[in-house]
Amino acid sequence: MTARISSAVLQGVIGQAVSVEVHSSKGLPAFAIVGLPDASCRESRDRVRAAVLSSGFKWPDGRVTVNLAPGGLRKEGAGLDLAIAVAVLVAEEVLTKAQTDGFAFVAELGLDGSLRRVPGTLSLVEAVQVPRVVVAEDAYAEATLGGDLEVQWAPNLAELVRCLKGEADFGLPPTAPPAADADVAEDLRDVRGQPFGRRALEIAAAGGHHLLMVGPPGAGKTMLARRLPGLLPPLDTEAARVVTRIYSAGDFGVPTSALITRPPFRAPHHSATMVALVGGGSRTLRPGEISAAHGGVLFLDELGEFSPVVLDALRQPLEEGVIRVSRAAGSISFPAEFVLVGSMNPCPCGNAGGPGHCRCSDAARVRYARRLSGPLLDRFDMRLFVQRPSADELFRGAPGESSAAVRKRVLAARRRAARRGVRYNSMLGSRALEREAPLSLEAAALAERAVASGELSARGLQRIRCVGLTIADLGGRRPPLRGADVALALQLRNNPVPLDRSYAGSHVA
């Protein structure tokens, strides 16, 4: 007897429809899976057989062949377990073809026959080409995001068979536990002082400009960076689905409420490998941290400690918003559009440029500075020297503006950007910038002076315009850009960080 059941497998973060065909015939008992299954997929054999037996069904006496079509597509993961089991039961005539028609099955099986959630459920559910899908209970909420499908769940294989036969009803939608606090725990209100840092965060949030923070330990670089996601507007539905897909497929943790609506914040440690950061892997092509930061913030603390090779891999995604991972097995694109926030110390001892005395030799400082390649440094539209707040600011400073207030301005600025046809200003090309961000006379004079003095390159000038436009947007002003907008953009870009030798020991408190 033969049977055919619908399911899907993951290719990166995208689902691919797969049909599971089972043929059972007389012959020596055997169980083979063909159709390019990888190791995790081949292990299905033992799980499926155990699950079928422990659910009280008979395992076919003869020869069972499972084919995963299309045959040319590499299949990985345990998500086909349930589909294989159901196909075997149809081939054994426990179920009829009519009873399983229009159903797809996406779940892993336990040895006792219980159904389990598989990573990438959302992408898989989106890929199946039938109107109804069965998943595990804890994948139910996520599966319902998949569109117009009818989603059902069952606790285990035996119960599922009863439901399919019509002897029982599918489980009611599980009541999702209350959504985790969507509010931002880390508010900008808690930051004392740091007028420059606050401003830079606001501009980064509104314009999607990458930000580099340099400063001594304890100056508040991490504290500032953690508050950036709170300034970003919530993800729109489409972006939320993309982020949820990535989180589910990459197993970065999907909340019980399923849809991820807050922009993510990822802070990989500096020991992260290339694969962990940009994605890939030898067999399974998984999204990396930069894709997990899609739509949100990628925070690289101690930028100087990351391997230079890893950092240079960031250049393509920073430019194009996607990362293409190519392996012998094939090439996959992962979305990776994020605001990059980097932080580092100004020198190995961390005290250069601040009130403490720097103990590093000039050579050590230069070596430290060289860890950041020029092209990468150039991607940072804003470079900020973060200084330790003074005692006065710490103890007597008034609490600053709250994240919610800043977010309002950010939202307004994003709406202006949307009218220009982009999500935020840093996506504007140079021609669009010429059109959208004309300079006033005074601003043009200032820019000309900066270019003439060699302070600013042609590319730098474009970025200044772009940041200047965001500053104007945040101030609710229409272009042309004022002198002050360009002056601030220039300050933010040309801050002599990292590792300026000047004033190393001459701080005046």
Binding site: D485, A487, P496, R501, S502, S506, V508
Partner: protein, 426 residues
Amino acid sequence: MSPEPLSPPGAAAAVPERPASESASAAAADAGGEVAYLAALSSLAGMGPARLERLLARWAPKEAWRALASGRLAEAAAAARVGEKVARRWISDAARADPAEIYLRHTRAGVTLRRRGTAAYPERLIGDPEPPAVLFSQGPVELLERPTVTIVGTRRCTRYGADVAFDLGKAAAANGVTVISGLAIGIDAAAHAGALAADGAPPVGVVGSGLDRIYPRENAVLWKIVAQRGLLLAEAPLGAPPERWRFPARNRIMAALSDACVVVESHEDGGAIGTATEAAQRDRTVAAVPGPIRSPASAGSNRLIAEGAGVLCDVEDLLVLLDISRTKLPSPTAAAEADGDAPVDDAPVDDAPVDDATVDDATARAILGAFDWMPATMEMLAARTGLELGELAWHLEGLSASGHLARRGLWYERRGGATAPTGSRG
């Protein structure tokens, strides 16, 4: 340039380029005279002035070299009071090196060797408590016959310090005073640059490494200009690396060559304090430029003032100081170059400092007032003035362009006259 007093002068040129045999090489070294052996001795690894002096107390240069070349380990170690390891290294190096070759390398590079006790030795070093046994020079040593001032300071200087050093160097050179400094980055470089800008007396650079080992690299251009137009001096032979211990030794030479020693900015335990101490021990006039008491870059120089050093409140004070300690009159050409008796106090860049009375924007004046004549970052100014960052940035750019402010790294400083800011005028 005075010729190296070797006898006979033609002998060195007659030496074959590559001595074929041991005897030929020995003859060449003899022809080069004792100075070749001195050069060879000082090119040994770790051979500082103190060790060299101890060797020379026991042996004449030639004998000292022979003692090493023939492997008299215990004797040499005892004479120089060094460990066996150092002496062993000397002996193995000496066995391979050839004094004649070393000597020729210097003359070919245009470096003159000046041995203590010969006529070529700078007069100012005669009678010094620790005179170098040999000096390597490049350029007219006559520059040291003029009045001299040694201007030193920290490498990690402020814009203020660099400006003052530049002004002092320029004023001194314009008045025919030879400016001596160490060609380090920071104050040293600024003093040299000022002296070169004056188009008066060319400066003298006393360096710690060999004359072919340009250090620090950042000053390569300045180094070459000083070599072309002025005088370079070193106690170390060609090829000597810029090792740490060479610099304090170098400082004593700068002190010994000077009529007066000026410290512009120095950290609490900076090398410039060492130079000032050496100068004081040699009865040279020591003066310092006062700085803000909260600036670490001025901590050492202010301490010198507290301990009794002269105070330079003005560029003119330097000339007064030199008048007092001057041993010779400046040459008439230098006096003519000095353009009458007007002190030169131009700013180092072409835009002249402007008084803030000329600033007619009230906000800009308020920003200038917020400086209190101290360096400040944009963040500090934002806190003091309460201005919106964009507006503040705009004014800072304008004030920098008009020459009221100078930027160094993150820091802005006021430039210009000493009148107190009035804030916004009523």
